[in-house]
Structure formats: C-alpha cells, structure tokens
Point group: D2
C-alpha cells in the first residue's frame, strides 16, 4: 500500500469505557452520556472514510457474555475489513481473545483510554490515532492498541499496578 486509500474504509464500534466517561456535576460521579468519538475525530482532522456505530456505553467491568457476543456479531457482519473497537481497558484483553477465536479474516483493533477524554490529561486522542493507523496497516487478526504499541490478542495483559499493557506468554 502506498496510501491509506488502498486500505479501504474502517468501521468504528463504540462500547464505552473510560474514553467516554463524563463527570456528573450534580452527583459528583462519573457516568456515560454520548460518545466523544465524533468530537475526537474532528479534533484529529481525521480524513479517513469511517462508519461509526455505538453498540453500548458501558464500563467494561459490566460487559456480559451477551454483550461480547454482540460485539463479535457486529464485527462479523460488518462490510468493512478493518475495524476499530473502543473499549474499557479492564476487560479489553478478554474481548480481544473471544474475537480472535471467532474472526480470522479481518483486521480488528481494540483501544481505549486510562483517563476520560474530557479530562485534560487523557491518553484517548493518542490511542485513537494509533488504533486507526494499526487498523490500516496490520494483517488480518485481532489486536490491542495501547501505549503506542500493538499486541496480538491472547498475548497481552493489563498490568494493574502500572496501568500499562504488556506482552504475556
């Protein structure tokens, strides 16, 4: 490929996660409202042909088997061969592993954020930029994109002490 155009359109599936958490000023709690993805893509002056769809808006600790099956189904039925999934970091590696067992012919990249986008200090925009780039260039397979890096599904874990993703067995 000499240009992104050869990679074809990308589908973005939104599932929620820290990425999209808001601060509720009346209760002082974090909650989900609408996704910030469109705003982030605009900020990034993103010029890729994208199809964005919100599947759910949940904390990934609350993601059920049925929720994961929905994600798998949506990846399978998507017309696009390249998919980015925004996802909470706590169970991102589990969803990646389930997807890898079910879908082999598409490039699927899961990403998220350690800090909500609406917080000034969020890693969300950096991660989104890298995930979209990995989705255009990696061969079919399921990957996690965090910390500027990519990891094949099944070979990555979140280090809960450091908050960083790392290779594993």
């Amino acid at each position: 490929m000499a240009t992104s155009a050869d990679a074809g359109p990308i589908r973005i599936l939104i599932t929620g996660g820290t990425f999209d958490k808001e601060y509720d000023e009346l209760t002082g709690r974090l909650f989900f409202q609408e996704s910030h993805l469109p705003e982030m893509l605009k900020l990034g002056r993103c010029g890729l042909p994208l199809q964005v769809r919100t599947l759910m808006m949940i904390d990934s600790l609350d993601m059920s088997d049925a929720d994961r099956r929905l994600v798998v189904e949506q990846c399978r039925s998507a017309a696009e061969h390249r998919i980015v999934i925004t996802h909470g970091t706590d169970t991102m590696t589990e969803t990646a592993q389930m997807l890898a067992g079910e879908i082999q012919d598409k490039t699927i990249v899961l990403t998220g954020a350690m800090v909500p986008y609406k917080f000034g200090s969020s890693d969300g925009l950096f991660n989104l930029g890298s995930a979209l780039a990995f989705a255009q260039t990696l061969p079919p397979g399921v990957y996690v994109a965090m910390n500027g890096r990519f990891f094949a599904a099944g070979k990555v874990r979140k280090n809960r002490q450091t908050g960083m993703f790392e290779e594993q067995g």
Copy 2:
C-alpha cells in the same frame, strides 16, 4: 509481527513546526521554546522504546536546503530502522520527497500539526499516535502521516484551502 516489540526501537527527530509553537504573552506572538514531545509521549502513556533528538526548532517555511540535508544525514546515520520526524506542515511533503530520494532501507514517517499542542484544540496528539503506529507497521519507505492517514512521499500534497493532506498524481 505479533507485537510492537518485534518492530524494534524508534527514533524521533524533532524539527519544530506548529506542533511546538508557544504563545509569548509579552509580545503576543507565536514562538519556539522547547519541544512538547516529551510531554505528549507522557500524556499518551507511550510504552515504546524511543530515542528522541531535537535537530532544530523552526517553522518549516524557514527550512533551508542545509537544514534538510541535516535531516537526511540524521536519518541515514541513525541506528534505528524506524524513524518519526515532527515537521511543520507547509513543506513537509518537500522534505519527505528529498528523503525518499536518499534513503530506501528505513521506514520514515513525517508528521506535524495544524494547531499548536498548547492550544486545547490541537490535532498533535492524534497525529503523533498515528505516526508512531505507522512507523512500526509500514515497510521501508518515506511517508507523510496526517489526518489519520498515510501517504507515500511524492504522492501527497497539502491542500492549502482546506488544510487537509491528499493524494496527488
């Protein structure tokens, strides 16, 4: 490659550009001080093995032939096979083309920003995330990474009406 670790370390060469412009509150003008790259990499919780080096801190409209030869020389002599160059957007495509004529065995990705990082609405973090991802995954060659996309050197221009990068002949 199943993980970023297989891609090896990346060198980042800083040349300035809008990325790194600051607001001088005494004169009301934009100027260069130190690069924001380290701060941006920290914000992105970047976990890649990186070597960062500042070559110059200039507006790319002020980049001379001697400056460009320095960039080429630094790319050639770098031990790393993957290089990201931060660069002003106005002449980014020129520098890319000169690099492509000189270096064929490394993956070199130029990126920048339309809005200074210190402005809340900057695309810099998004572009940096994508450039680092492209540097890990694209085959040897020289590329421009802007707007979430990549373009081979010599096949890209900046549209000065829209501020977007696009394919050309």
Copy 3:
C-alpha cells in the same frame, strides 16, 4: 480603596471539595492528592499577597463538626482580615453559617467548583477569581461566592436540581 493594595493580604484556607478532585487512572475513581490552588493562582497570574494553607483535603459531605471547628479556629487566629476558603459545594452553606455565628470582624468568602479543576470544563478558575475579588471588597461578614455572585451566609442555598446557588429566606 483605590487599589487592591489597600485591602491588605489575603489568607486562603484549603479544605478540598470538587475543586481538587483528581482521576485515579488505576481504579477509575476520583480522589484527593495535592491541591491545585497553587497551579490555579499561577495560571491566573495572581499578583495578590497571599498566605495559602491546606487544612484538609476532603469531600464536604465528609466534613465533621470537628473539621468545621478547625476551620473556624483557623479563621479566628489568622493574622489576615480577609480570608478565602475553598470548600466542597454540598455543605458550603452550612460551614458559612457556622462561621457567621462565630466571627464578625473579618471578610470570609467560601468558594468551590461544580467540576474538578483538572477537567477541561471546570468553573474553578472563574470562581477563584471572583472569590478573591469579593474578599478584597466586601465589608466584614461571611459570604458564599459561586456562579459569579456573592451571598451572605444564612441567606443562600444550593439548588440540587440545577447545581446553582440561590437566595433563600
């Protein structure tokens, strides 16, 4: 008074509140670390002679009678005649009322924020600017400064539906 200099130095007492909440990226919870007051004063290029002291770093819903007595004691013993207290909004009016019953010879202004300072969309800097101004210009008494307005202690309530402070009784 023709200038702030005539108002004399101001003491700032920090008690925590939403103002100073941080996002813990490992647990996804909001917590207190250090106060952002010094950073906010620097951002505001504040040129006032100030004495800043942290008394506690708590949610105002957790403020005990002993905590409030400490605040009263600190206001009483302060050498300064003008005092600003940063405080959680939930019980700000209660602390104001207790202070008003105990101290009559100083100008005391309580302020806070609906959204943490570290969130991009915080009202904290606006409120801090107004509280410091009210502290310089209002006669002795205890006041709440929120929403760009001031209210005498005992004549204000937080409307929990709107999050705005308003006159009462």
Copy 4:
C-alpha cells in the same frame, strides 16, 4: 449589600484583545472571529443578570480615538450602572483613563487576558470572574482588574517586562 442581587444587572462590552484571539490553522496567525465570552460565562456557570454587547473585535494596539469614544458613549448610554469591558492589555490603562475623565456615576471595570482563552493556559477565566465581582462591589469609578487585583484608572501601568499590572504614581 447582602447579595449580588442588590447590585443590579451588569453590562458587558466586548472590544476584543488577547482574550478573544483564535489560531488560524491555515495561515498560522492569530486572528479574531467571534467572542468567547458567552462560552466563558457558561463555563463559569455564571448566574448574574447580564447584557452582553460586542462593540468591536480588535487588538488594543489598533484602537483609535474614535474607537475609544464609542466605548465611552456606550458606557454613558447604558441603562446599567455596573459595566465590565473586555479589552486588550496593551492600551487598557489608556482607555480606563479616558473613561475616568468622562464618566463618574458608574462602576466600570476593564479586564483582559495575557493568553488567549483558547490556549489551555489562559488567565482569561480567572480575570473575568474577578472583574464581574469587582463590578458588583466597588463604588462608582473606573478600574482595571488584572492579576486578581483592582486599580483605580490613572494609578496603574502594565509592566512590559513582567506582563503584570502595578500601581503607579
């Protein structure tokens, strides 16, 4: 006064200044578009009764005598007795002095910013909060509100080395 409500409504007159400068991503220059005042008032959850009017959108170095006469005229004819003027910092003290010679029966507060509001590090929100507070509490007269402080017109200068406002003769 026991509450802001007794101070009556405030008129805000916008003249431009650093406050309202934007970054033009196509030319790399700072320019004026629309005022950010409404956005700033919303961020501050401002609950004051306000009348906002844009008189001009210029750098205060470009402010002519005719421009200043317009500002004086607008202050004179305003129904409100309390007025805040947003103004570039370079000639803020000059406009204040002209106003002081013409209008004695209203409280007029000029404020501005050293860094554009759209830059993350702006002092604008802090200054706006303090200016609105000073406008509610100071007796009739013309004042400059910067650095958390107020100064009577004619007794203040901008220190061009430090960017801070200070008393003078």
